[in-house]
Homo-oligomer: 139 residues x 6
Amino acid sequence: MSQLTICRAEHFNAAHRLHNPAWDEARNQQVFGKCNNPNYHGHNYNLEVRLTGPVDPETGYVFDLKALSDIIKREVLNRYDHRNLNLDTEDFRTLNPTAENIAVVIWHRLRAALPTTLKLAVTLFETDRNFVEYDGQGA
Amino acid sequence: MSQLTICRAEHFNAAHRLHNPAWDEARNQQVFGKCNNPNYHGHNYNLEVRLTGPVDPETGYVFDLKALSDIIKREVLNRYDHRNLNLDTEDFRTLNPTAENIAVVIWHRLRAALPTTLKLAVTLFETDRNFVEYDGQGA
Amino acid sequence: MSQLTICRAEHFNAAHRLHNPAWDEARNQQVFGKCNNPNYHGHNYNLEVRLTGPVDPETGYVFDLKALSDIIKREVLNRYDHRNLNLDTEDFRTLNPTAENIAVVIWHRLRAALPTTLKLAVTLFETDRNFVEYDGQGA
Amino acid sequence: MSQLTICRAEHFNAAHRLHNPAWDEARNQQVFGKCNNPNYHGHNYNLEVRLTGPVDPETGYVFDLKALSDIIKREVLNRYDHRNLNLDTEDFRTLNPTAENIAVVIWHRLRAALPTTLKLAVTLFETDRNFVEYDGQGA
Amino acid sequence: MSQLTICRAEHFNAAHRLHNPAWDEARNQQVFGKCNNPNYHGHNYNLEVRLTGPVDPETGYVFDLKALSDIIKREVLNRYDHRNLNLDTEDFRTLNPTAENIAVVIWHRLRAALPTTLKLAVTLFETDRNFVEYDGQGA
Amino acid sequence: MSQLTICRAEHFNAAHRLHNPAWDEARNQQVFGKCNNPNYHGHNYNLEVRLTGPVDPETGYVFDLKALSDIIKREVLNRYDHRNLNLDTEDFRTLNPTAENIAVVIWHRLRAALPTTLKLAVTLFETDRNFVEYDGQGA
């Protein structure tokens, strides 16, 4: 049976700061540079969510993209959009909100909300030029 | 020998409607929502076609992108561009023209027109935020 | 007082056909080409709406972009999105739905719904490469 | 003599919050909604700067775009990039950092740094769908 | 009668070099920097052509965008695409091919090929971040 | 341990010409068409570089994207940007600068400059519609 990948793109706007509390200020500044700014900065995050599986012969869908959009809104956007990731979310209260860590957390949140028969991958764009991809490898 | 993937992007504009004739109107409306509109709606479809294979040492090409563009025009655009997919094409007279089904049909049309030594994958964007990818898995 | 322009971008997907009922088929075909296809084709229309006026010193807004988005949804998207412009809308039952005519109709609909103190302009993209701009000149 | 407009696009990432200290929390929440979040959110701001004037016959330039880029970096990016606009800048300590107000402040900063013989306009994108334009009208 | 602006976007790929033969090498290097490289560099130029005029009530068009595309191809792309602007074109054999000068020359070529009743403006993108606009002012 | 892919996008502007010196002019013209133009043409090349590996628990990074950007600048942009690939670089003095060959050369340059523990892939866009991907297969 044909296996396809479908993709839905969503976006959210959030503030964040990169910081490792186990390090002193000098080390944080050296490693994270201007991303370590104590008062935060922010991004328009673009998120692409991919699901891979067979096409349902009755609907012609792998998965209803409207339903996928609703799940992304409930699991990700409602938690992160127009928030400070470090201060306003449980997910990044102690976990450093790098693009890598955000992508892994989003993948786990969506994984738990989606059928296990579908393969899941996420791409998170912090800017047009910096982005990360995660498909659950090593999870 | 180095194996590369080359890609050509093309686009076509078409009308379509999602509908399963085996279902009653209520079920069609419930599953396909506004995409079930009896008088059709439409999209600017963007199509990316990827070919993977070795680089020809004489040309430095995996495959001539101009030739690939011509094949996509002949096999896909000349059939679908500025058409109603449900009414004007043989491909979707009985097959529901979801993005998934369109991608699979395009893949098969291009597969038959391209050298079997090259791996083929297609990405079809129905909108900037909804798209599907097919590489022949399960074909 | 500073005069600024604010802009909100929205999009809708619709089917349409270009046709002048006063002409015979040959003339329609000659002028409108493949856009005259009897069974329609379609587009992802992108719409930019611009409002020009003074900044409210209390809010720092020219006009609330969320409110502008709601007005565009009510006046334009709810009427045109996932519809056949020729068959499903009153606006284009007798008016040829060229990008020019759609832009003029949208401008008039939005003009009636927005404060007269604000200057209004709309840009309508039929594709990334074909678009029209209207600011009410000659209305 | 031919008058042209040249444009340079730059971007910066910043956190901000919309808030009017003269209002109570309920009013702030009602007007600014999720943009009022006390812990800030953020954006990838894209900035387009336009200069209009005659072409220098010796250089073929209206103004050296590399020099314009350097001025934008010095006047705007070095102040706002990877900062919290409300807390880390003098410009928005008491001025509400709406897109409109940010655009007006940027226009004045650049106006003072550029030859008065050139007309200046700025476009500031808060997101791909929300943006503002200012050319100094009423300044 | 309603006055609208219609726009068609096209693109061409060309090599060029910025150089003023009246200057010595040091001055050329100082003013044009790496754009002065003796062996040329190149760009994917994007060109937007805008026409402003009344809507023809019979066609619903200001001007047929397909016809405009053909004129741009004949007047601009056939001359510049996949060429070296300095060596392969008459237009820039002695005129420095800055974005400004290219835009002015394109405007004059198109002006001569289009109805004088329509206002003409061109935007030329040398890169996504560097572009110029010309509407004939001072021509 | 989670394995992620991070990506950094950069761009450079260069002139080039496709030509096989072992062939006569007729054959070169037939195979490479207008890309064979003796005086060169050019492109805005966009380059995406992907690294796959585990997330460092101390930094939350797979690899510092600022460091990756610096390496791309040193290894690729400083060599190719605003240059003629055929005349000004050692890499393409005898190797035909097709997108395929450029991507393979860039991959080898970056491979030598990056930790061997990270998987490397590059995507090179010659235009928005023509691009190639290489991940070292067969190297």
